[in-house]
Symmetry: D2
């Protein structure tokens, strides 16, 4: 129950970072700061691999970036090319063996690879490779991809990547490192984000632009769907797949996953969230005394909602940020304190007030119920809930950890039923159209499958 507080959210599975410096200066520290800025995308394991032109070096470990690395490890990570990875994962696969980047030796040298996303046909390809004698040491897609690249490497790695992309289906943003190149790859639908930054002496590729900021790189542009970006001593060049695919970037990046200071595919995440709040206000206005947010993600939407209706925005909760992995869970007798340990309501602010609480999403609904209850016990006269995304009703197969459909409250209950379940005085979700408008685009280049079930590419057979 206590864990739900953080668990009752969709979870991004990874963040990737790559740095190339043509001055031959070491890059490990830059990769580290990049991963640190991308830490919100995965807190389970972290890894950095570098290459000094002769051989690869790497270190991976369980935990946060600042727990996995130290000065001594840094000194061992030599080289002007580096890639890094932070990972969140479902429990079953939560061990060091599956940490990334994956570094392998193949016939022409070494490849390092870090992957954000999820292939939908990995089992099929895996099985085909196994039939051909390949053995697998991990359960991660990166091992499938790197095997394909190695097999197709006779005409060089870029060509090998092209041929690999013909085979693999699903969501993938990759950073790849060889002895002399840093390569960024984004799947043809552009499901997961990936962007390019310029350093004085090189380039950076990162899942989000906040990773570029962390090393002082300037955002040039996003890697385009289906694009392979190759960076080496001669500069930067690009290969685009021939076939055209419909772009379908994950819209949830704007709602919850990405850091608000990131800009993805030209759209600022903060602004998109604030827009969503404004649209939500128009779609589901309410007469209350105060607008509050469930911190931290929902603050921009709450500000937007507040401004649109001219109702004051206020902080409603204080979030305790010191809960670590070893936090001792409350025993039975103290269970109902659980939410308040992490999210204490600002009682004096709330007492006697009618409040509207903005949240980014409802997944199972368990936490929402606790939070609404907490507000009521703190004296709120009315608690209205507004959600800056439509009901999540379909599982994601493209790199996001979603519970089974049956556990998605949006899949099994009507909105009125959800309202009752969470104990809110009223409940309103932004409409799918409203959400799309919040990211500023009339047409449809975003993946909204988790709301609408309109999967942009096939989903895995069960």
């Amino acid at each position: 129950m206590f864990n739900n507080l953080s668990c009752d959210k969709l979870k991004e599975e990874c963040g990737v970072m790559g740095v190339y410096r043509n001055t031959m200066d070491d890059v490990a520290q830059m990769v580290y700061y990049g991963l640190f800025a991308l830490q919100h995308r995965g807190q389970e394991s972290a890894g950095i691999a570098t290459n000094d032109g002769n051989m690869p070096y790497f270190h991976k470990g369980m935990g946060l970036v600042n727990e996995v690395f130290n000065d001594e490890i840094f000194r061992s990570l030599k080289g002007n090319i580096g890639i890094g990875h932070v990972r969140y994962s479902t429990t079953g696969e939560s061990y060091i063996n599956n940490a990334q980047p994956l570094v392998v030796k193949y016939r022409r040298g070494s490849i390092g690879l870090a992957h954000n996303g999820n292939l939908v046909n990995a089992p099929l390809i895996r099985s085909g490779l196994e039939d051909d004698g390949v053995v697998f040491q991990t359960t991660i897609d990166s091992e499938v991809i790197v095997n394909l690249i190695a097999r197709y490497s006779s005409d060089g790695i870029p060509t090998a990547i092209e041929r690999t992309m013909d085979l693999i289906k699903g969501a993938y943003s990759l950073v790849i490192m060889t002895e002399g190149e840093l390569i960024g790859v984004r799947d043809p639908h552009g499901l997961r984000p990936l962007c390019i930054g310029k350093l004085e002496d090189g380039y950076v590729i990162a899942s989000e632009s906040c990773g570029l900021d962390s090393v002082g790189a300037e955002l040039i542009r996003d890697v385009e769907p289906g694009e392979i970006v190759i960076i080496n001593q001669e500069g930067i060049r690009s290969i685009k797949l021939n076939k055209e695919y419909k772009k379908a970037s994950c819209i949830f990046e704007y709602i919850y996953f990405a850091r608000p200071d990131s800009v993805i595919d030209g759209v600022g995440v903060y602004q998109a969230r604030k827009n969503a709040g404004e649209i939500l206000a128009k779609e589901h206005p309410v007469e209350v005394d105060m607008v509050i947010a469930v911190p931290d993600t929902s603050i921009p939407a709450a500000i937007g909602y507040s401004e649109a209706l001219g109702i004051p925005f206020s902080e409603g909760f204080i979030k305790n940020r010191y809960i670590g992995r070893t936090f001792i869970q409350p025993d039975q007798s103290m269970r109902e304190l659980a939410v308040r340990l992490k999210l204490n309501p600002l009682r004096s602010n709330i007492i006697g007030k009618r409040v509207v609480m903005i949240d980014d999403s409802i997944v199972r609904g368990t936490t929402s119920k606790q939070i609404v209850n907490t507000l009521k016990r703190a004296g709120a006269k009315e608690v209205h809930v507004r959600i800056s995304s439509p009901p999540v009703a379909y599982s994601c197969y493209y790199g996001i950890d979603t519970p089974d459909n049956k556990q998605l409250i949006g899949a099994v209950k009507t909105i009125e039923e959800i309202r009752q379940a969470i104990g809110a005085d009223s409940l309103g979700y932004i409409s799918p159209e409203g959400l799309k408008r919040s990211v500023g685009i009339a047409n449809d280049p975003y993946c909204t499958a988790c709301f609408c079930g309109d999967y942009p590419l096939e989903i895995p057979l069960r």
Copy 2:
């Protein structure tokens, strides 16, 4: 430089917590959650001591509450009375030997004691005790206090505490534990906060009311200046010193130290901060596009400022919360990224805008300069700075870690010089009177010595 980000603040030195349950149930877990809620008052060491009526148990360690304790330790901390302590400290004394609570055996049993504050005459008393043959194993004031209490214990601990209070001068909020009692003590000026909460089966004493919330206790009232509160099987009783002292609670608790969801001496911290923002707006209005806060403390003041002038409030920075103790500091070549690693400006929000940035205080001014510079590099057209406290110009001797007077920019520079030093387009501090009004009191029961030099009791000789 990087460290300045967190160091360039005044620092509370401690938080204390005590729990008494007359059902004889164990209290260690409650003390733990209390300390967890008070973690912002000290992150260097943590300790819990309990007593089961026969003997004391304790455990102390360096680090955060969640790092110091585990289930096995909990099982060893038996008893229905418990006290706890979190500590921040200057480097020189930063070792486990000085962690609290201090637990001693004296002629009539055992005493556990945890102290928040600073005695101004500790060296003198220490020296007197040494002349009488006492040896000291630590450099903390608690050891002085506990020695006095033991010496005066012939007529019982409460009387011993009274006699001790006749001798010691300075700031002290104490929680004390014997075989059968939990005792709370607040110095005659009430310099540091201390409040009392009611459990179904007992009482809680804590530095701030957020500590009560964390265990489901209801705030009854604050311990009064010069009051000794004794809790045991028979209930709660109180001893008040005969002599009258002028109340002088630390006003900086409202400005920066306390958690916004706490209520101190009847005044809600969040509301006080928001009030300060409104008053600041009246004292130093400015025509800009946007009000932003330096997160997290200044957000309520920024909201108050925004509402008073009708200028939109917006988030201006994203704070990276994953920096741990082992974070690898940027080397020389990356120094100017230092601020941005922790506090990245929301560029898209700021670019081309005139902003007013609300901060709670300026100590040395180094961080303020970096932050203003960061905003300008992010494209802000104008950066105005408003501070919700008056210039800090005098060192504190009552439990707050302040730099030397010479390092206090408010002591050595005029406001115009400070403005130039930090590169702001304009700078305004709230007035001392405005600040007092923000906590809702016309007269003067607060210590404002750090602004005005009007020390409520003598300061130590040098």
Copy 3:
């Protein structure tokens, strides 16, 4: 210099252990005790893999067996089949990625494999596999072997192992685990030891018989050179290669590597060492007051030497066994104490005496010099040195970490020069024939390449 004390020895690179229980009871604890008994064969990393008939489980870590595993890990290692590995390694490859067992998924299920030895043609096969598209994630031979087995697996694993053995050359004792079988393999020359034990409810395969003792298994016999032993629900069966190879077991197992309570290929290690001492006494008698040993390996030889000449055996040194991995090395000013910290001479025993010191081998000679010097400074009148192996003059390519030929004092100096170098009053090595007699065999089934250069199979090209 200090490190030489332990480094100036030839080092076994690994120990392996496998357990099969037909009662389906868990085996992880048995593998653990086996590895614990084999710990002397490798202290750098340890790993255990198990299989419960459906899927493999594994855990590996750096350090001693008792440091790598705990109860929680044990609970996760389910299954009635298990293999384990302890590893010593040269620095270059000393990281977790190369720890064993290696566990892979291949087309028909999973394979776990642990390897003791060294292939001489691994680079060649590796290169061939790479040409065929295989990627390698480690630098260990196990990965080469497991790839071959997976490729040849169409007719079952035993046949695949046979075909693999046709290709690989060098020293290898393997324990292999599938969903339903435990398999032991010893290379055609039998270079590294491997033996079979019987449990009440299953079988054990281990590098040395002391591993069997540790789980209460009874030694049945050694795995024969070129034999594949397959253990499953139906019992134990054996496949022998058609081709005949000359047996060439490593004779150094008897001299130094193996535990004295082990029996290898029918010969007790303790007895062999004692025999060597007796033969050494006949070949190089000396008139002294006392026989001492360099502890611990040389004690049986010293007892044998003592009995053969009727000269009293005495302890000559006290070995400090508390030196751990974090031991702080003496600085320059205390360097000459280095030996004595680990090996303090029993001065009162030695002073004024003529002693003969028995050691098992001299590799670089640096430690021998220090030890002789230490004895002289402790007052020994004469120090004679007798070595229970011939001069080590050739590098080993079959799984033993030997320095470059140039660093082998036996390769570059005459015996008289060595005597002078180490400062002994006389020096005698056992003859190769004497050594062979000590293990009780007239003919020549042992590998003595490190003494004589008669490599039983080709050595790698440089």
Copy 4:
């Protein structure tokens, strides 16, 4: 049961070390090596305190010396005077708070103190001090002693120590450090050992001479019973108490506690043990094929026994030295393997043989039974047991951890009953007179209270 293997021994409670260098060079590393050599005297906690003439520095921790200290800690331990302590302790007091040395500030400066032994009147003095207002933070005698010294310090520390020695009764060997002096103190009966060594640039005081060897110091002499040795810039001087006491050094140091390379009160430990073996052979000869020892302590006695009767000495067990604190204990089904995991019999050596096994002592008898049983299962035809100390029948109150009288098999059973209990074919203990002769002294300057009950000074009231 498994733990008994190491627990069924009397346990020394501490070792102490002190170093003074008049060159003002740092001593911390020397104290470290001394403690490392004394590690057998206590493995639970370790601590070092130094003084640079101005102030003390110290660090203490749980675990072995090499686990507690690292380079960074060393750099913080400045000064030319240092003391150290290793501690073994009964569980109840096993925590960091009781680790030594104890460092206190008193009216004239600082005192560091490390204590080996046990005061019999500590509770009485503690109570008197408490009546006088003293509070105690630990349960160790050192805190009592240091309080007395501080109280009596008006005429200087040496005089204070004299006056303290008038009060305290029991066993104590102390090393004491002030701003300018290193002081060694041995109780009037000389119950625990303490010796003095000479460095080129200073002096060393240590529990055993092996501590001197470890830093290259030359043994000058033992601190005499009732002597205070003061070392400072002017050299070394001595104060002797006026009163004469009967010397009563602990004879168990020779039997079991001390390292065999130490010389205590002029008697080499190794030689004493060997003598005991010879005397035991005369008192309890036996006709067998082989003499074996329970490693490691009993080896010298076994060699003496072997030589006296002309029966060959042989190793009988291989001791596994890799058992660490985290070793996973065998579960019920594997219990009977427990002994063999630590002490595996050399079966090939033993099978069909009549052996006599020499051990240093029998405390509870549980381990002896297991070991005899192990030998029989390994095929020994007869197992005779000879013990190089008389039956332990009385608890020690002078610093040795002894079980309750009722658990001492020598207190509750006849020798024939013990023989039956442990399953030996015959059993013989050395006589008290024989033991005394083994340390070479006709008269009676040794404490043999644990055998004879003749306590040299009063024992504590219960």
